[in-house]
């Protein structure tokens, strides 16, 4: 059932869908490879960030260690040890410490971020000595200053603060401790930059902001975890590129997969379209064949009509030829037997012969005008003239069969090919003539009526030949259907009439049996009702 085109379409569809699936597979495979490379890359990337942070925090610890040794810090403790009072001298030391710490704090930047949130100096009793910097960011009592002989980084999990502790010594004795609160978010942002991909935390808690909790990050395989040496920090890093690319690939694959649907849909409709084309071609072929058949039938009808006409001519000619023959034979006998023929008699005989010859000539003209007509030519004509022409052509035949002709015709002009319509009508006339001649009827009638109703011309032909048998009445318009002997009927007469009325004149034809009263007598006969539209076509 599949045409070649359908096979091409299906084959093309399979190739396209296969191509899409191949693309999806290749993309997915490539993505896996890229992810693998990127995983390696992120590992080294996280490592590099960890080293950067390690280096930075080491430098920071060294800086804190250096300032812890500044004499400004120890001066306070020295002066205090000397017994100086706040009012007279000691306060100056504190002010110096404040200024010193402020200056140091305000000079410590990494790019645009401060390194220190605050720096405070506390004494051994863990009371704040410095006055300007008194932001108590954490509980100072929790500080483990004994372990802060070297600058060390600590995390206050409670307050989420990161700070460096460094003890201050005078003569190898701890006199105070420097507490430097680190702006860890700022440092992390400036050093790591890609803060979306990295998170800083301790082993149990995240320090920098993250959308995920430490538990989720620890469970997430995408995160690479590296301890930052000499600090309590752990850096967790993943590549957002992988996610972004995976996301892109995923949607690309989905897009490609969905692309298959419209392609299949289009192919399906191409198949439907192709099938419709095939059907249409078949129909056109059938239509052409039908037209061809119709043409052949028309030709057959013409031949049949010619036969009918020749029969009619023969009928038409028989009487005049008989008269001519009689007159000629009578004249010959009279001449052979020496009978005198007067001039008047001879003149009468010649006139008779001439009249009959004229009649024959006219008959020839009538038929010739019918056969000469072009069936494709359209023109306006009056139905009365048409029916008169039909009457002329069939008059002798009807007369020979003693059929009485009655008409009631209303003038009406229609457009079309008159000869074809004449041909159609003649078939009905001949059909009626055959039906009436077959029946042994005393009165044989054929009625023709035409009338205009609205935009339609109604032409009715009716006979009194007892009608058509119910068994066959519905088949009379079918081709090659005939009740006549094959020497008489071809079976295409009424079929052609039907075709001419319906196809050429866009009208309709119906046949029925009708009972009617004529001259006070009841008759039954076939009634053909033809409806022709009165319009230009």
């Amino acid at each position: 059932m599949f045409s070649n085109k359908n096979i091409y379409i299906i084959f093309g569809g399979i190739i396209l869908v296969s191509y899409i699936f191949a693309l999806i597979i290749i993309t997915t495979t490539d993505q896996k490879k890229i992810e693998s490379y990127e995983k390696k890359e992120i590992n080294s990337f996280v490592q590099s960030k960890a080293v950067t942070l390690e280096y930075f925090f080491n430098v920071l610890k060294k800086d804190v260690s250096n300032i812890s040794e500044n004499r400004i810090l120890s001066l306070y403790f020295l002066n205090k040890a000397l017994g100086m009072s706040m009012e007279y001298g000691l306060k100056v030391s504190i002010n110096k410490i404040d200024r010193f710490l402020d200056k140091f704090k305000n000079s410590q930047y990494i790019k645009n971020s401060r390194i220190f949130k605050d720096i405070i100096l506390i004494n051994k009793e863990k009371n704040i000595v410095s006055e300007n910097n008194r932001n108590n960011l954490i509980d100072l009592n929790s500080l483990n200053i004994e372990s802060a002989n070297e600058a060390s980084i600590y995390i206050d999990n409670k307050e989420n603060e990161v700070y460096i502790l460094k003890n201050i010594f005078i003569k190898e004795k701890i006199v105070g401790t420097l507490v430097c609160f680190i702006n860890i978010e700022g440092i992390f942002k400036e050093l790591v930059i890609e803060t979306e991909q990295f998170v800083l935390g301790s082993k149990s808690k995240l320090i920098t902001q993250s959308k995920q909790s430490i538990d989720l990050i620890l469970k997430d395989n995408k995160y690479k975890k590296i301890d930052i040496i000499d600090t309590p920090f752990v850096i967790f890093g993943k590549t957002s590129d992988i996610n972004e690319k995976s996301f892109f690939t995923k949607w690309l694959n989905i897009f490609l997969a969905f692309l298959a649907f419209p392609i299949l849909y289009i192919l399906y409709h191409l198949l439907l379209l192709n099938n419709k084309n095939i059907k249409l071609k078949e129909e056109i072929k059938n239509s052409l064949k039908e037209k061809q058949n119709e043409k052949i039938m028309l030709q057959q009808l013409r031949v049949a009509a010619i036969g009918e006409m020749i029969g009619n001519i023969a009928h038409q000619w028989r009487q005049p030829l008989s008269v001519i023959t009689t007159q000629a034979t009578g004249l010959k006998i009279s001449l052979e037997y020496g009978n005198e023929i007067s001039k008047d008699e001879l003149k009468k005989m010649m006139e008779k012969i001439n009249n009959q010859a004229q009649h024959l000539s006219k008959t020839i003209d009538d038929f010739r005008s019918f056969f000469q007509g072009n069936i494709n030519e359209l023109h306006e004509f009056d139905i009365r003239n048409t029916l008169d022409d039909v009457r002329k052509l069939t008059k002798d035949t009807f007369n020979n069969n003693f059929i009485e002709y009655h008409n009631n015709i209303e003038d009406c002009k229609i457009k079309g090919n008159e000869n074809i319509l004449i041909q159609a009508f003649i078939n009905i006339y001949n059909n009626a003539k055959d039906a009436l001649s077959e029946k042994t009827l005393i009165e044989k009638y054929f009625f023709v009526e035409s009338k205009v109703i609205d935009d339609e011309l109604i032409v009715i032909f009716k006979d009194n030949a007892n009608g058509i048998s119910k068994d066959i009445i519905e088949k009379v318009f079918e081709p090659y259907f005939t009740t006549k002997h094959e020497s008489v009927g071809t079976g295409i007469g009424l079929y052609m009439t039907n075709q001419i009325i319906t196809k050429h004149f866009k009208g309709s034809i119906e046949v029925e049996n009708e009972e009617f009263i004529f001259n006070n007598k009841k008759y039954t006969g076939a009634k053909f009702t033809i409806v022709l539209p009165i319009r230009e076509f």
Binding site: R71, L78, L82, G83, Y88, K91, V92, N95
Partner: protein
Amino acid sequence: MLKNPLFNILFFISIFISSLFSNDLEEIKKRGELRHLGFPYANFITGLGDGLDVELIKGFAKYINVEYKFVPSLVGDIFGNLTGQNAKNSEKGVVLYDNIPIKGDVIAAGLTILDWRKEVVNFSRPTFPSGVWLVSRANSSLVPINPTSSINNDINLVKKSISSKTVLAMENTCLDPRLYKMKETTTAQFKLLDKESTKFIDLIPAIINKYADATLLDVPDALIALEKWPGEIKIIGPISQKQEMAVGFRKNSPQLLIEFNKYLKIIREDGTYNNLVKKYYPDIFHFSADFFK
């Protein structure tokens, strides 16, 4: 006023003579130069070409549209270089002595406003808070006082603590023990430094080197000393009430004084002066915050 009539006469004659050579604002403008008298003293005049008073007078010179010139002087000659005749404090009052050439137009060297000095020069509006503290070396047996809420009590505590101690001082300066009746109220022994040869900056090294047990030191100098000799000196407590420093003008330079006070008002109001002070004495704001409001 001066108690000796002869001195009175001489004083007024000297003023009269000086006025004949008046060096007031107009003359200074004509001359196109403002001469700043001073000597290296703490951060007022560092000796390196800058200092609080150097910048203050430079700014004033610019304000009156003249050139600035620093004229170095000695502690003992500073008034003479301004007025033409040296002056000193004595139990009897101001003593005018040697006539010396006038070298400058203003004295600005952390000059404390003292009553006897007011008779010699006109002071501008106060430029700096001050006072005198007793400072000893760190390992001295002197113990810093435990401050009370009264400055007088604190002074008395300090005076008591120095009985039979040796104390460095400088006469005719703000470190003159006579100003604070120390000789009458303490049993301390005073070692007076020679005004000609000794500079203020020599006081601390002197006590560190055990030349004396303690020294009088004005507050601005003490603040510098605490920074310079950390852990080597200690503040025992106050000897004086709060004092103020100002710029000294000749008596016959009233217009110059008025102009300076105008200038001082401007720079105090626009914050320029406080920035200058912050640069040279950042700790002084905590000593006398009200002064700089």
